[in-house]
Amino acid sequence: MALLEVDDLHVSFDTADGVVRAVRGVSFTVEPGQTLGIVGESGSGKSVATQSLTRLVAGAKITGSAMFDGLDLLHASQREMRRIRGRRIGMIFQDPLSSLHPCYTVGWQIIEMIRAHESVPRRRARQRAIELLDLVRIPNARARIDDFPHQFSGGMRQRVMIAMAMALNPALLIADEPTTALDVTVQAQVLKVMQDVQADTGTAIILITHDLGVIADVADEVVVMYAGQVMERARRREIFYQFHHPYTEGLLASLPGHGGTRDRLTPIPGNPPSLLAKLDPCPFVPRCPYVFDKCRREVPPLAPVHPDERHLSACWLEPDRALQFEWESSKFAQISSTAHR
């Protein structure tokens, strides 16, 4: 049974410029012990969608349902949410410096976190905090537990955040761009720690990132988001090798060393749409090289791609397109070479 089942999630914000519809009908499931990667560009709604699950977005109008362990997160009371956040659902954010309080020691912050949810004596909580810092490979944890955040490097702070998020053995860990602010060698360390902790504790992870390389490394299943909607959802290898949706194709093609030649990359033409505006039935219409009449008329459902029931794509192109795909025939590449400057 799925650990988390999100169905038709909508999130919108009232702003001075109008209603921003940041998330427009997103559905996905997370299995226990699995890593779900959510990938998308800035403004695709990937962060808002997951933050609204913990109800941490202020001033948002949220509809839909998100069943977690028999409880609908979107309709739970604040009291219920407080018990779930931290204990059942851990969170890690992009910027480890601003997520830690600069005036308290790292140990104090982890201990406080444990004691907010469980009535354990301070000494036991401290012992647990040391074990957690060990778990995330903070060298010499027993001594470093009394250090302040500024005495840690960026990668170590992020590992502290992981330790804190894992303190109460949550069933689900939401990691929002956890390695984006880090260097590649440090990123490798942090991802390794996350994977090891997952193997140890069986925690499910939602990993939000814009980096397809990170996705290829650690995700079991992948959700590709664009303009607040899910464009494609499949297991990791299908997303990279048998993708169906033109947006997924465009994302992969624009990576250096993937599509394109040594000399030229293959970008997606145009810019992402404004979320204030009314979008085409498929939001990718203005940038899609495969667009045809039906795309402008009818909303494409997130439907299975033949013959794989677990591979879903929201696109009107023929369902078996994924199986015939080759790079040379990519429309993005053709457009890019003919429209050279």
Binding site: V184, A188, G213, R237, Y241, L251, S254, P256
Partner: protein
């Protein structure tokens, strides 16, 4: 740039910018505000930028790559060393003397939001170089600016708009137009696409490639993104803690990696290819970057290096061709790596030992 062009450049070997033993130290206060210390951001770098090439400069946060770039463009004064641009020593040049140099050497910055004044119109931002260097008549300026906007793929009719009305990718194009205004020979690009989404990043990288072909530009391309640097660079220089540890043509850096640090850096790069990600050797360096205030003795990488031996902590290795490499490929390492050599077995044990220190 194609491989033939690369070879042509290499055979002419014409140096546009020569950096010799450049050092840049910053003074910092000690912990109690009493003792003085120095951050050795760049600590003895010698490097050539050749005419018409793209030299990629890679390294992690705090390795001194941006400081080096700012020394090259003389936005910083040097602590010591020499910088020669087009046969002219500019290491001690005055602000006034630098004016003519800056016409030929421009910069593009990382942050497309922070590097444009939000209260000025785009036309006047791009036209700034003309005004500062008093080039052309004021009345001709608008035409010139609109030409530039066209060149970088902006709509010339948006001349009177403010930066806030443009997206991140378009803002970076504004930065490129401004850098191009005076038709420089060299552009220093400091993380020009790091803040952009991949689909937009590809647009800007293509633009930079096209402009290079059209105006025979030389790029110094600073980035921490190895897949980007591999795509754009003819040669790559790898920095670690204020030092250049390896310089080589791009393919050699990836195929005949010599320095263990370069190897570790490359292996940490996430590749958007699940099969490759599953099968490759990954070297996870567990230590942290040491402080540039008090860098390790000898080779600066030795406390984290799986191959380190006693000599590495004692003697600093020179940056020279190793293991019969061509003059193009230089490495600063006592025990450079053979092709196909694996770093994995020693890595874990060694770095854990370091951690316990």
């Amino acid at each position: 740039m194609t491989s033939e062009q690369t070879e042509a450049v290499a055979s002419v070997d014409e140096t546009l910018l020569h950096v010799e033993d450049v050092r840049k130290y910053f003074r910092v206060r000690g912990h109690a505000g009493s003792s003085r210390a120095e951050v050795r951001a760049v600590d003895g770098v010698t490097l050539d930028v050749r005419r018409g090439e793209t030299l990629g400069l890679v390294g992690e946060t705090g390795c001194g790559k941006s400081t080096l770039a700012r020394c090259m463009t003389r936005l910083y004064d040097l602590t010591s060393g020499k910088i020669v641009f087009q046969d002219r020593d500019i290491s001690r040049a005055s602000r006034h003397d630098l004016r003519t140099v800056r016409r030929e050497m421009q910069m593009i910055f990382q942050d497309p939001y922070g590097s444009l004044n939000p209260r000025r119109r785009v036309g006047s931002i791009i036209g700034d170089p003309f005004a500062i260097h008093r080039i052309g008549e004021r009345k001709d300026r608008k035409g010139k600016v609109q030409e530039l906007m066209q060149l970088v793929g902006l709509n010339p009719e948006h001349y009177n708009r403010f930066p806030a009305e443009f997206s991140g990718g378009q803002r970076q194009r504004i930065g490129v137009a401004r850098a191009l205004a005076l038709r420089p020979r060299m552009i220093v690009c400091d993380e020009p696409v790091s803040a952009l989404d991949v689909s937009i990043q590809a647009q800007v990288l293509n633009l930079l490639t096209d402009l290079q072909d059209e105006f025979h530009l030389t790029y110094l391309f600073i980035t921490h993104d190895l897949s980007v640097v591999r795509h754009v660079s003819d040669r790559i220089a790898v920095m670690y803690l204020g030092k250049v540890v390896e310089v080589a043509p791009t393919d050699d850096i990836f195929n005949t990696t010599r320095h263990p640090y370069t190897k570790a850096l490359l292996s940490a790069l996430p590749v958007p290819d699940p099969d490759a990600a599953d099968s490759r050797e990954r070297i996870v360096l567990t230590g942290d970057l040491p402080s540039p205030i008090n860098p390790p003795s000898g080779c600066r990488f030795h406390p984290r290096c799986p191959k380190a031996q006693e000599i590495c902590s004692r003697e600093e290795p020179p940056l020279v061709p190793v293991l019969g490499d061509h003059n193009n490929h230089v490495t600063a390492c006592h025990f450079p790596m053979e092709v196909g050599e694996s770093l994995t077995p020693g890595t874990v044990a060694n770095s854990e030992r370091v951690n316990e220190l």
